[in-house]
């Protein structure tokens, strides 16, 4: 029974440590807890020094979300040089998910982790386009500049079939989902459907008025496919009716179309825009995204969570979340022409105009483990748990060592009221450069104690230069400007008489003045912009009459951040 609880029935003892009339001393741990409040104030924690609080200031910019973490978890890209611009990448639907890369006059098939092609199809006289796998991953179809469409067996070299009929280059080819028909879109404004076994043209439809550069067959219905053309339209064709059943105006030459797995949503890219269409609502536009600043050339869906990825000539791949906000961004070296994501998001392959294929592999925990296991092991586990898992028996006296409080050097100096030394410590080169917030925290603490002036006084040229350098670097940082301006004031007050004796200090003050002048100008400009914005917002907000009482609608206004 602990003494703390004896006269107070409302406290329940958690652990009985002592005999009844044991003196309560700070040495003895008391495991008491009030039933209604919290633990009684321990005497030991009363007299400890509270260290200087270093303010944690949030970094401006992108927030870290789960999506960003997911998409950041890729290794640095592997670059593979192709012979020309990479126009099409297609992953085989079957494991081990090899992928076909169409570039120049060849189609290379790479394994997921190979850097050399495991197979290549080189029998093209002119540039090959749009190499894509059949649903079973055994056949590959590709168009070409000369208008021929070739069908390859994945294990063979020579084309199994050749479909002739297009008069101009065929940029897009694809199998329909039954696997027996091939659809192709060509620059001669037609697209044709071919029968694979007999190699005959089943139908040819001319509905587009410009080059056809995008094609997406439906996976659920073997008769449906979507085409996009440079005539700014996206059309949905039904082979059963032999004509388009739906037409959507994209507004820009369509570079790529993409169907969601549910096939309720359709993505089309063209110009700087990515548009999402709802097919179930008769082709209503859901969203129009404008995140790229050059033509969006390709789009694909990740297989985990169906996140949309778009690549553009502006060298960026953007990843959107389910509400179509950009959550991640991959940077590339050149304009992007094609892109594909392997099943399970294992690999992101990006093809570029300069013929480089950049392949990013996903990081795995396994890799990390092997990495850490290579590292030198620290002290053994036993060192850290030594004596900590000892369970006291009922009649034992627990005598705890007073926990030593570890303080930073500047805190130790502040504790003993050595203000100048504390400031010196905080201004040490390493702290000053890599952790300016610590330096500023010490300055704020000194100011709070009313001893900042004492700490700054009596310095020689060298240490004064240090302070002024720090000011020069950080005085316009909105997080630090307030305390640092105070420091500047005090320095000027203290050293006004002797400043002219040191040319170094004088020069620094000159620079400080310039910096502050520039900052003042910037602030003024910002305020002007804010004023303009305010008037804009005010004119945008509709005026409402509130129940016959004169009350202006309150505009929320743009909120100026701490900056």
């Amino acid at each position: 029974m602990c003494l703390f609880c004896v006269p107070m029935p409302y406290i329940r003892c958690v652990v009985w440590i002592m005999s009844v009339w044991m003196w309560k001393s700070p040495e003895v741990l008391l495991y008491c807890r009030c039933s209604e409040g919290r633990e009684p104030v321990f005497i030991s924690d009363m007299a400890s020094f509270k260290p200087t609080k270093v303010q944690f200031l949030p970094k401006l910019g992108e927030k870290v979300t789960e999506d960003t973490l997911y998409w950041k978890n890729y290794k640095s890209p592997v670059q593979i040089k192709e012979f020309g611009a990479v126009t099409k990448i297609d992953f085989s639907p079957l494991a081990p998910h090899n992928y076909a890369v169409t570039a120049s006059t060849r189609i290379h098939v790479y394994g997921l982790h190979s850097q050399e092609p495991i197979r290549s199809f080189t029998r093209f006289r002119d540039t090959a386009y749009g190499g894509s796998f059949r649903g079973d991953g055994k056949l590959l179809v590709a168009g070409s500049e000369e208008g021929l469409i070739r069908l390859f067996d994945i294990s063979g070299r020579v084309a199994l079939r050749q479909f002739t009929g297009h008069s101009k280059a065929v940029h897009v080819t694809s199998f329909l989902s039954d696997g027996f028909r091939v659809v192709s879109g060509s620059d001669d404004l037609t697209f044709r459907v071919w029968d694979v076994p007999s190699a005959v043209e089943l139908s040819s439809i001319t509905e587009h008025t410009d080059y056809i550069r995008a094609l997406a067959p439906s996976k659920l219905n073997p008769d449906l496919f979507v085409t996009g053309s440079y005539d700014h339209t996206v059309k949905v064709f039904d082979m059963r009716s032999g004509s388009s059943v739906m037409t959507m105006q994209h507004g820009h030459p369509v570079e790529c179309v993409l169907l969601y797995p549910s096939e309720a949503l359709l993505v089309s890219t063209g110009g700087r825009y990515v548009k999402i269409w709802d097919l179930l609502k008769g082709g209503q536009e859901l969203v129009s995204l404008k995140n790229h600043h050059k033509t969006v050339t390709c789009a694909c869906l990740s297989s985990v969570g169906n996140k949309l990825l778009t690549g553009s000539l502006d060298r960026h791949v953007k990843v959107y979340n389910s509400s179509y906000k950009v959550v991640h961004n991959f940077d590339c070296d050149a304009s992007i022409l094609s892109m594909a994501v392997a099943p399970d998001d294992e690999v992101v392959a990006v093809g570029m105009t300069n013929g480089v294929l950049s392949v990013r592999h996903r990081k795995h925990k396994k890799d990390k483990e092997t990495l850490t296991s290579r590292r030198r092991r620290g002290p053994s586990y036993r060192v850290f748990v030594k004596g900590k898992n000892f369970v006291p028996r009922q009649d034992d006296f627990l005598v705890s060592k007073p926990v030593k409080q570890y303080l930073r050097k500047y805190d130790k100096q502040l504790k003993s009221f050595e203000v100048s030394k504390a400031l010196d410590t905080a201004l040490q080169t390493w702290t000053r450069t890599s952790k300016p917030e610590v330096t500023v925290a010490v300055i704020i603490e000194l100011n709070r104690r009313g001893t900042l002036k004492n700490a700054l006084a009596g310095r020689n040229e060298e240490s004064l230069t240090k302070i002024l350098n720090f000011l020069l670097k950080h005085i316009f940082d909105p997080r630090f400007s307030r305390p640092l301006l105070t420091v500047g004031d005090i320095v000027l007050d203290l050293y006004r008489q002797v400043l002219h004796q040191s040319p170094v200090v004088e020069r620094q003050l000159q620079r400080l003045m310039e910096v502050l002048g520039r900052e003042a100008e910037l602030q003024q400009e910002l305020l002007q912009v804010l004023g303009i914005l305010d008037t804009l917002f005010a004119s945008l907000t509709p005026r409402k009459e509130v129940a016959a009482l004169a009350a202006l609608p309150v505009d929320q206004g743009p909120q100026l951040q701490a900056a």
Binding site: L3, V6, P7, Y10, W23, K24, S25, P26, R33, C34, E36, G37, R38, E39, P40, V41, I43, M46, A47, S48, F49, K50, P51, T52, K53, Q55, K63, T65, E66, D67, N321, S323, K325, V327, L414, K415, E445, R448, R449, G450, R482, V546, A547, L549, A551, L552, P553, V554, Q556, G557, Q559, A562
Partner: protein, 785 residues
């Protein structure tokens, strides 16, 4: 509440300290309050152990008596009547039967007559000195009581009893280095001829050889940077203890020059230090109502903490979880104080910075705090730089951690507003918690626990949800309705009603002239009403369904407080130097209960404290207290000190009253909390006379009640009943209030509500009427049916 004025302890078992008009006895081992020695009718100014019997203690009081107690059993042994207000008491072993008292500006030796009677008048007074410092710690007995040393301003006097002579030693007011040499305290070495003196600039001087007037010497030691408040030699004389505003107890080794030990960060500034007679324990009393018990090895072994009431900047609040009263505690802390047990629970560190004990230093202080309805969230505002132009403040949000049973910092908002935050409140709905702050920059902001769409995980930090303003007017108050469907923010003279869901301005209510001071929504059945008070003596009640003024009355309301458990609203009205209390329901302008002249000062804070178990009081006048009690706080101590035209006695009494700042309205169980003496002198006398001296309660009762009554006799019976039920004389206020309730209730919407002042003649007439026997009326009433 505890008031560590001065304490002495014996064999390290007990700590005695003066507290208002009683002396409290604490155990040093358990830190529990054992009992209090009650009997003085005014503030106890000094205590001293009886040198002849170590189980007895002398206490002196401003009521002009010295009492001798057995402090172990808490029995009053004797009362010596001196007849003058006493300010300090000193005793010495050598002078048996003599106590030295501080009367006016004189130090007087009083022979205590040896008589068997309980109450004796001590007449043998002889002045020792006529000029002593009003500070009681500036006088001390020397070695074996051979001499007494007392200092005043810059002069140290030593009076030798054998020679009957006084030697004086003076210091210059200032020296070249700008030292301030005025004496602040004195201590004499128990076995050596040495006097230690503390000075205003923090120096300690050790005087020796003062037996020969011309050849005295002193050595100076300097560690304290502000005035030394107290000095004490340990019983063997090996060490000297000193303390001051720095809150560091310094132990100087006697005779070894400058060797010293420190015990820092004890709490508020140290006011007194004393050592137990065996030298094993020291204890210090602090300005923040605390006594620290320290072992001789210089380790803290116990803390006796009372309610800290330095400067209450926050509202009085009730922690919904522990039902504890929450207000400013230690600097930078919030204290949780259990009213049920009259015990300090704990301090919550809000500022989390090292507090520098230095006079005149501007440091962060908690100025606002608010709990949400479930007690899961706590919002605090801390502020620095009230005096200077650059104001710094932080808004902090704390969440309750079930595991550690305490509040944990969740969010710190550095620049919540561009100017000072005036007020804040949590929404009272159970589902969503929202905080609204209003500030002097003319905006109000709503803060929510931000749930970001981008992050799937629960982000439970707080962020700004809405910024609102109204014609750039300065907001004055804000309040959520009982179901949190409406937010009322008052902007100067206008009340704006907002919908927290859509942030739409629903309507505005305005009743000029006068800036809105308080706002509160009705509860339960009266939730459609909004009550506001203005600076121009107007109390308005708005009906929110019709958006019209329901009723208004002209009354100067300094504080409006609504009971969270009932419809009742309490209004404190400050008029012509006294405060009246009205309790009403918003649906009718007639007050349920009126209490005239609650106290003579303005009331700044008030709070309804829910009872653990609702009372079943049928009496109509006190029904409003069935579910909760009303506590209120008057102005700060400073105000009284500033008032000029007061006699020293009033000053003392005023201070004395201040120490009991916390008032308790009727019928509370805690008898240990001293009541505010109210009303006439006779009541005060009656209440402070020891119970055993008084005639039986049954005799006293009717007399007492009739002394209070003014009105007709018809209602006398009810109050008598109540009187009987509360047998203790101490519970003064129950009766007082009962009689007040008989004063006429306020008429609807009446403008002039001040009760007519009775002239002297009328009063006399009333007294006469009161004394007449009305028993014949009882006969009439009985015979009537």
């Amino acid at each position: 509440s505890l008031n560590g004025k001065y304490k002495v302890q014996r064999h390290g078992l007990f700590v005695l300290c003066t507290s208002g008009d009683s002396v409290k006895v604490y155990s040093t081992r358990t830190e529990e309050w054992l009992h209090s020695l009650q009997g003085h009718t005014n503030q106890v100014t000094g205590i001293a152990l009886n040198p002849a019997n170590h189980l007895q203690v002398y206490s002196c009081s401003a009521d002009g008596t010295v009492k001798l107690w057995d402090f172990i059993d808490g029995i009053l042994i004797k009362t010596f009547i001196i007849g003058y207000p006493l300010f300090a008491i000193y005793v010495s072993e050598k002078h048996e039967g003599i106590v030295f008292l501080h009367i006016g500006f004189q130090l007087v030796a009083v022979h205590l007559p040896k008589s068997a009677e309980q109450e004796v008048e001590a007449k043998e007074l002889s002045a020792v000195s006529s000029h002593i410092s009003p500070n009681p710690s500036c006088t001390a007995f020397g070695r074996e009581g051979q001499y007494i040393a007392f200092a005043r301003n810059l002069q140290l006097n030593v009076y030798f009893f054998r020679k009957q002579k006084t030697y004086s030693f003076s210091l210059k007011a200032t020296d070249k280095k700008g030292a301030k040499n005025a004496f602040t305290c004195i201590a004499c070495h128990p076995t050596d001829d040495c006097i230690a003196t503390g000075h205003e600039d923090g120096k300690i001087r050790l005087w020796r050889n003062f037996i020969h007037k011309k050849e005295y010497t002193y050595s100076t030691q300097h560690w304290h940077h502000n005035a030394v408040n107290t000095l004490c030699f340990t019983p063997e004389g090996t060490n000297l203890l000193s303390g001051g505003i720095e809150s560091v107890l310094v132990q100087w080794q006697y005779g070894t020059g400058n060797r010293k030990e420190f015990l820092p960060r004890l709490g508020g500034s140290i006011l007194h230090v004393s050592a137990s007679s065996d030298g094993q324990l020291f204890c210090t009393s602090h300005s923040d109502n605390k006594i620290t018990v320290i072992e001789s090895s210089f380790k803290v072994c116990g803390v006796i903490q009372g309610l800290v009431k330095d400067a209450v900047l926050t509202d009085l609040m009730i922690d919904p979880r522990s039902k504890a009263l929450v207000l400013n505690g230690k600097p930078g802390h919030l204290q949780f104080y259990s009213l049920l047990r009259d015990k300090h629970l704990y301090n919550l560190d809000i500022v989390q910075q090292e507090y520098i004990y230095e006079a005149g230093l501007d440091q962060f202080e908690v100025v606002k705090a608010a709990f949400d309805i479930k007690g899961y969230w706590l919002a605090t505002v801390e502020e620095r730089g009230q005096k200077s132009s650059d104001l710094e403040f932080f808004l902090k949000l704390w969440s309750y951690d079930e595991r550690t049973q305490s509040f944990v910092l969740n969010t710190t908002i550095t620049a919540a507003h561009t100017d000072r935050i005036i007020s804040m409140c949590f929404s009272s709905s159970e589902e969503t918690t929202m905080l609204v702050t209003i500030a002097e920059d003319g905006q109000f902001k709503a803060w929510c626990q931000g749930v970001d769409a981008d992050t799937q995980q629960d982000q439970n930090f707080w962020s700004c949800d809405f910024v609102g303003s109204y014609h750039n007017l300065k907001p004055t108050n804000c309040s959520f309705s009982a179901d949190s469907s409406l937010l009322a923010v008052s902007f100067q003279e206008v009340i704006t009603i907002w919908s927290p869901d859509t942030w739409e301005l629903l309507t505005t209510l305005c009743q000029p002239p006068g800036v809105i001071r308080d706002l509160c929504f009705g509860r339960l059945s009266c939730s459609k009403y909004l009550i506001s008070t203005t600076t121009r003596n107007l109390l308005c009640c708005w009906n929110l369904l019709t958006c019209a003024l329901e009723w208004s009355t002209s009354v100067e309301v300094s504080k409006l407080q609504s009971d969270p458990l009932s419809e009742n609203v309490a209004a404190f009205s400050y008029q012509s130097k006294h405060t009246d209390l009205f309790v009403f329901k918003p649906n009718e302008p007639r007050p349920l209960f009126t209490h005239k002249n609650v106290c003579s000062e303005k009331i700044h804070r008030a709070v309804f404290v829910p009872r653990e178990e609702p009372l079943n009081n049928c009496d109509e006048s006190s029904q409003w207290l069935n579910r909760s009690q009303l506590y209120f706080l008057t102005q700060n101590m400073l105000v009284i000190d500033d008032s000029v035209a007061v006699t020293p006695f009033y000053l003392l009494l005023g201070k004395h009253r201040q120490q009991q700042q916390k008032l308790n309205t009727p019928s509370h169980q805690a008898a240990d909390r001293p009541q505010q003496p109210q009303g006439s002198v006779t009541i005060t006398e009656l209440l402070h006379t020891p119970a055993h001296v008084l005639p039986p309660a049954s005799v006293l009762c009717s007399m007492f009640v009739s002394s209070l009554l003014i009105s007709n006799t018809g209602e006398m019976e009810s109050s008598e009943q109540e009187m009987n039920s509360e047998k203790e004389e101490e519970d003064s206020e129950g009766e007082m209030e009962a009689c007040d309730s008989q004063q006429e209730l306020r008429a609807q919407g009446s403008v002039d509500e001040v009760t007519p002042k009775l002239s002297k003649a009328q009063e006399r007439e009333l007294k006469r009427v009161r004394k007449t026997d009305f028993s014949w009326m009882a006969g009439l009433i009985d015979s009537k049916p």
